[in-house]
């Protein structure tokens, strides 16, 4: 089905460069309010979570759109808004479970992540890979690996403890 945006929130340093490159790439303007991706922060706990469109298979925004302005583009596995059809009713903004559909108060239109036509700039600029662009079926592999590493480490520790007992 192609690549998807994979977010590893624990890696995010909270720098928000993704927000700036997103708005400059799409609009030629630096303005976090125009970004398709946004880092949500709980500063008093040091918690940063980048939020963007999940390009849902069964996308609520697509279903609710009264003028059928939203459709799936299977070639890039993304959900797209046809700005010519969009009437700016913001029903999609209200229904998106991730808050990933945005409304631009200057142009008065909704906007969302379009994966930069296959070269997501947020991924390109994120050195720590908190945002990555990977094949959909590989997203869980890295998580499996890190969980497996923990099990492996625990097993080694247990073996050491056991040998110390003897």
């Amino acid at each position: 089905m192609g690549k998807v945006l994979a977010i590893s929130q624990e890696k995010c340093t909270g720098c928000r460069l993704c927000e700036v490159v997103c708005s400059v790439f799409h609009d030629g303007i630096s303005n976090a309010a125009r970004s398709r991706i946004k880092v949500m922060k709980w500063e008093s706990e040091g918690l940063y979570i980048p939020m963007s469109c999940q390009q849902c298979q069964d996308a609520p925004c697509m279903i609710i759109c009264p003028v059928k302005a939203i459709s799936r583009d299977e070639s890039l596995s993304r959900v797209m808004v046809n700005q010519n059809k969009c009437i700016g009713c913001r029903a999609c903004v209200a229904v998106c479970p991730f808050g990933a559909m945005n409304f631009n108060i200057i142009d008065r239109k909704v906007f969302k992540c379009d994966l930069c036509d296959g070269d997501p700039q947020c991924v390109r600029f994120c050195e720590v890979k908190a945002v990555d662009y990977v094949e959909a079926d590989r997203v869980s592999t890295s998580k499996k690996r890190s969980a497996a590493e923990k099990i492996s480490a625990a097993r080694k520790e247990a073996a050491v403890l056991e040998s110390e007992l003897h």
Partner: protein
């Protein structure tokens, strides 16, 4: 676009607010950030004004590139006459405030007068409002920020605030944003406090049009690759600035027991790796955070592991906290380090100055110059962790005779304490030195002696002097954008050629501070990082303004000269120990006791030091008294200052 960001003049006495554009010809002379702030300070303060009185003027700014697509344009600059030494006051901090201020429509704020009651400024999409802050008075730095968000109903508001130390006019109170980003030096928090100004809150969604977006994106990518490929930045990104303290301590370049020693022994608990372990244990393996747009991410996240503050979240600690709460007071506990760091963050005081002044008092106590009467019974000897942290509290809240006295800063405190206490105060222009020892490194000694804001490493330190780079490499760096064919030496214990390096770095750091980017993105700790040759492109792609490397150099020299003019107007005298380009006698008279073979046993040679200052003045175009020659002022276009262009 970046160039249509405004300047606002705010009079807190009358409540009058005036908003003006910043003309392009002013940009071409001073760019923005610290450089333009220095111009504004020179033009908007009266000679000899009381730094804590209503006539002092407070400047707050972002750089010309703030919030554009230049890497790490996170820096906020704050400037006023310093209540610490009476010379130029200047502090610079990372975080997210300046970009938010730029998105709200402003690059520069000029704040005058004094509010009748506590207030804060609310800056939102081109509008500025002065709001009541009586309910915020007394709150810590983070409590204040969160309360403003709650009150205005927007979690994206970024504020720069003062804590109780600023309210109590501690002369080295800082301004803060976020958890730990601090505009630490020279008491800018006390200036805010003296104006009854608790905070400046900003929120903006105004477009900043990028002149050449495609090129700006591509160039920024190249810039980031260059910056993150430097080994020093990779290490910073893993361990933060504690790695510098650890590395410097290994050869004997840090300060211990108020300059009695230049190396801390048996301090495994406060080494960078040990701090990293606590961060990993309490926050997980990915515990580094970054400022706005920066890929270096040198800020560690941690929770205090033990003690009365166990489980409390904070960020850092930095080199200066290791110096302030470990090396200088000779304490070696990670609990003390992380707790001390947390206290100064919450109360809003400069960790560097706090640690230095307490360590000075500790030496005075051990010498008998201070007794238990003055300390109200506190056993203020070196290595007493509890006394150290208690003293931090007493200074912040001005409790007891000594707390109240030390809150006045070193110079006033030395007058109150009397005897020969001043002889032990390691300061320049009233400002304590970074917790580093420069007796083995003449270039660094010249840097702290001549830095405009007082003893300081971030104004002109040629840190790469320690790397023993081949002369050819040094020539490549220091030979542009203006040709230099004088001597240069790879040897860090040498005196020759160092004045040019300090002069070059002074212009380099000023340029960076005008652009609004972080010093980890230029020739500070990494010799391969961008400088004058790269900035014209970043400026052009983002703002459309064209400059040559030489023009940026000239702007930096002009801005540095304005700072010089300000200091001269406030009474700078070359060899004056209180307000001159001069070092404490211990640099010349007491040899270093520890360190690597080429460091131990060293002092700064008085005559050679004098010659370095002579040469440095010559490079800057100053006469032998440190006063600019008429032709220098003419060349820099400063012969008619103050010229009141803004």
């Amino acid at each position: 676009m970046a160039l249509n960001r405004k300047i606002a003049y705010i009079d807190l006495s009358t409540g009058k607010i005036e908003i003006k554009p910043i003309p392009i010809d002013v940009r071409r002379k001073f760019l923005g950030g610290r450089g333009l702030d220095a111009y504004l300070l020179y033009n908007h303060t009266e000679k000899g004004c009381n730094p804590l009185g209503p006539k002092n003027t407070l400047m707050v700014s972002g750089g010309i590139l703030t919030a554009t697509l230049a890497s790490a344009t996170a820096r906020t600059h704050v400037m006023a006459k310093s209540p610490l030494g009476g010379m130029i006051g200047s502090a610079n901090m990372g975080g997210f405030f300046a970009p938010e201020l730029a998105w709200a429509g402003f690059h520069h704020l000029v704040i005058k007068g004094k509010a009748e009651k506590p207030v804060y400024l609310w800056i939102h999409n081109g509008k500025i409002e002065i709001r009541d802050a009586r309910h915020l008075w007394g709150k810590t730095t983070t409590e204040t920020q969160w309360a403003i968000r709650e009150e205005l109903g927007d979690d994206d508001i970024k504020s720069m605030v003062i804590g109780p130390a600023g309210e109590n006019l501690v002369r080295f109170a800082n301004v803060m944003t976020g958890i730990k980003n601090s505009g630490g030096r020279t008491g800018m928090g006390a200036v805010m406090g003296s104006k009854n100004l608790k905070a400046i809150a900003a929120r903006g969604t105004l477009d900043i049009k990028i002149a050449h977006p495609k090129e700006a994106l591509e160039y920024n990518k190249r810039f980031i690759d260059q910056i993150t490929s430097a080994k020093v930045n990779q290490t910073q990104g893993a361990l933060g600035t504690p790695f510098i303290w650890g590395a410097t301590n290994s050869w004997g370049g840090v300060r211990c027991r108020n300059f009695q020693y230049n190396q801390e022994l048996y301090c495994d608990e406060i080494e960078p790796e040990a701090i990293d372990e606590v961060c990993t244990e309490t926050m997980g393996p990915d515990h580094m955070a970054g400022c706005f747009g920066c890929q270096v991410h040198c800020r560690a996240k941690y929770k205090i592991p033990t003690g009365p503050y166990a489980g409390v979240y904070d960020e850092g600690p930095e080199y200066t906290s290791q110096g302030a709460f470990c090396g200088e007071p000779d304490c070696r506990s990670i609990e003390t380090l992380l707790t001390g760091n947390h206290l100064v963050d919450q109360w809003g005081m400069d960790n560097l100055e706090t640690g230095s002044i307490i360590s000075w008092a500790m030496e005075l106590y051990e010498l008998g110059i201070l007794g238990s009467k003055e300390t109200d019974g506190l056993d203020l000897r070196f290595g007493n962790d509890e006394a150290l942290l208690e003293m931090v509290r007493r200074i912040c809240f001005r409790e007891g005779w000594l707390g109240d006295t030390l809150a006045e800063g070193g110079i006033i405190a030395s007058e109150k304490i009397g005897k020969n206490s001043f002889d032990y105060l390691i300061q320049v222009k009233g400002v304590s030195n970074l917790h580093s020892d420069e007796r083995g490194t003449p270039a660094l000694a010249l840097n702290i002696a001549t830095a405009s804001r007082g003893s300081d490493h971030l104004r002109s330190r040629p840190a790469i002097d320690l790397y023993h780079l081949p002369e050819g490499v040094l020539r490549k760096i220091y030979g542009t954008p203006v040709p230099y064919d004088g001597p240069l030496s790879s040897e860090h214990t040498e005196y020759i050629g160092k004045p040019w390096q300090v002069f070059w770095q002074e212009n380099c750091y000023m340029a960076v501070d005008c652009l609004g980017i972080c010093k980890y993105h230029t020739v500070f700790l990494g010799a391969t990082l961008p400088n004058f040759e790269d900035w014209p492109k970043v400026l052009y792609y983002n703002t459309g303004l064209e400059f040559t490397p030489r023009e940026i150099w000239d702007i930096a020299a002009r801005c540095n000269m304005i700072e010089r003019l300000f200091n001269l107007r406030e009474g700078l005298i070359r060899e004056d120990l209180y307000r001159g380009d001069m070092l404490n006698h211990r640099y010349f008279d007491e040899p270093t006791r520890r360190g690597a073979p080429d460091v131990v046993g060293r002092v700064i040679d008085r005559e050679k030091f004098k010659k370095m200052v002579d040469e440095f003045y010559e490079h800057k175009g100053l006469d032998q008294n440190g006063i600019p020659k008429p032709e220098t002022l003419k060349r820099l276009g400063l012969e008619k200052e103050p010229s009141h262009l803004l």
